[in-house]
Amino acid sequence: MNSFRTRSDSELLRLSLGGEEGAFLALYERLKYPIFRYVFYMTNSKTAAEEVTQELFICLLKEGNRYREEQGDVAAFAFGIARNLIRRMKRRERMYEALPDDETLIRLSGNIVSEPEALPGQVIRQQLLERIRRAIAALPDHYRQAIVLCDLCEFSYAEAALRLNCAVGTIRSRLNRGHALLARRLKQAGKPRAELPTAGTEECLI
């Protein structure tokens, strides 16, 4: 296992395809956390993140022969696969409407309470976190990718540009616009219910 730590990602992938389990484990250790974080922030679901991470490594083995070192590093190749898997998953699940999970129910109950400051700090934090995640997940795809990679996965602009196969300037502009959009949405989401435009009582009775 130690002998594989010094090898490059492309070497590890080649050895993994040849049946070297140690090489595969080393490559997996290198890629699993960034991939998992990326997929989690992109989908806002731990289950989906685990599913995509698992499927990604199968795809990496199946499609590993198509990898060309001159076109980028293995991590970029893996992120490309992850991106496609996420898109496929969202397309597949678009027709289904998700039932509210426990966290959503807590959030809804928090809205009913008149004084949220009275709730324990843990619940408030959870609400805030859920709101942030939802706001990130609701961003347009290209903005979300830039924010997730640069702000949440802590990649540099150059690394993010490599992963998304675009220029560094594109990443910067997407990030800037994404931040602006996210700040606006968070501000909207943080407003009390009374400030939100509501329909009149007579309209609801129809």
Binding site: T53, Q54, I58, L152, E154, H179
Partner: protein
């Protein structure tokens, strides 16, 4: 400093906190004076806090996922090895090539068999009656009984024998083994042309008084002699030779 410069300076929300602690004084003077920029900075601060919170709240990576990925890898490698082995066998023994090899092998066996027959005809002896011998009628010889071995007669078709005639002959004849049977010293007992002498014949070992054969073998002096008689399928003796 104008608002645009402030905004471009703080395009990364994480920089807001750093710059606020030790940033340029003219920048912060503008921010405190300009309500838009102060709102922008506040929004960026909130955004930075939110992103940091989201960054810190990643769920833990479950160990079962590690095991599942490793199990998938092992399964995939085993499956691929099996598939490679099977593909190798399939490539080596493709049905077309198997058929071609089997055909070639059968053809080579047939050719070898033909060659063996053609190259080593001396191993087989064909007993043929001396059809050109003078006829010597002997009514007693036709009643000889007792089969010892079976031979075939070869049609005398002349010296020029083609491949087809040889093959035809092989099909019609059976081979006689044993040194005593190979003796060519048969004397014809009656006249027979090739047409009437066609068909299988038998050699019968008989004991005869020497006086009976005196005409054929005048040199024999013993009272009884052993002789091989060549008898046709019609029961008529065609030729004889003295054994003792």
């Amino acid at each position: 400093m104008i608002c645009r410069e402030v905004r471009s300076y703080f395009e990364n929300p994480f920089l807001v906190k750093i710059s606020a602690s030790g940033g340029a004084s003219d920048l912060w003077q503008h921010v405190t004076a300009c309500p838009d920029c102060s709102c922008f900075i506040e929004a960026q601060k909130k955004l930075a806090i939110s992103l940091r919170l989201a960054h810190q709240s990643v769920p833990e990576f479950s160990a079962s996922l590690d095991q599942a990925v490793l199990a998938n890898y092992r399964h995939y490698i085993a499956q691929r090895k099996a598939a490679t082995r099977w593909a190798g066998l399939r490539n080596r023994f493709r049905p077309v090539s198997v058929l071609a090899w089997a055909t070639a092998l059968a053809a080579s066996v047939l050719i070898a068999r033909e060659e063996m027959v053609l190259l080593f005809p001396a191993n087989t002896a064909i007993v043929s009656p001396r059809l050109d011998a003078r006829p010597a009628a002997s009514p007693a010889s036709s009643s000889i009984a007792g089969v010892t071995r079976q031979v075939a007669i070869e049609k005398n078709r002349g010296k020029e024998q083609t491949f087809s005639s040889r093959r035809e002959r092989r099909l019609k004849t059976s081979w006689v083994r044993g040194p005593d049977a190979l003796s060519p010293a048969f004397s014809g007992l009656l006249y027979c042309d090739p047409l009437s002498c066609e068909g299988a014949m038998e050699i019968i070992r008989v004991e005869l008084p020497s006086s009976v054969l005196r005409s054929a073998q005048p040199s024999s002096e013993a009272n009884m002699v052993s002789a091989d008689v060549l008898v046709g399928s019609d029961g008529i003796a065609r030729a004889i030779r003295i054994v003792e």
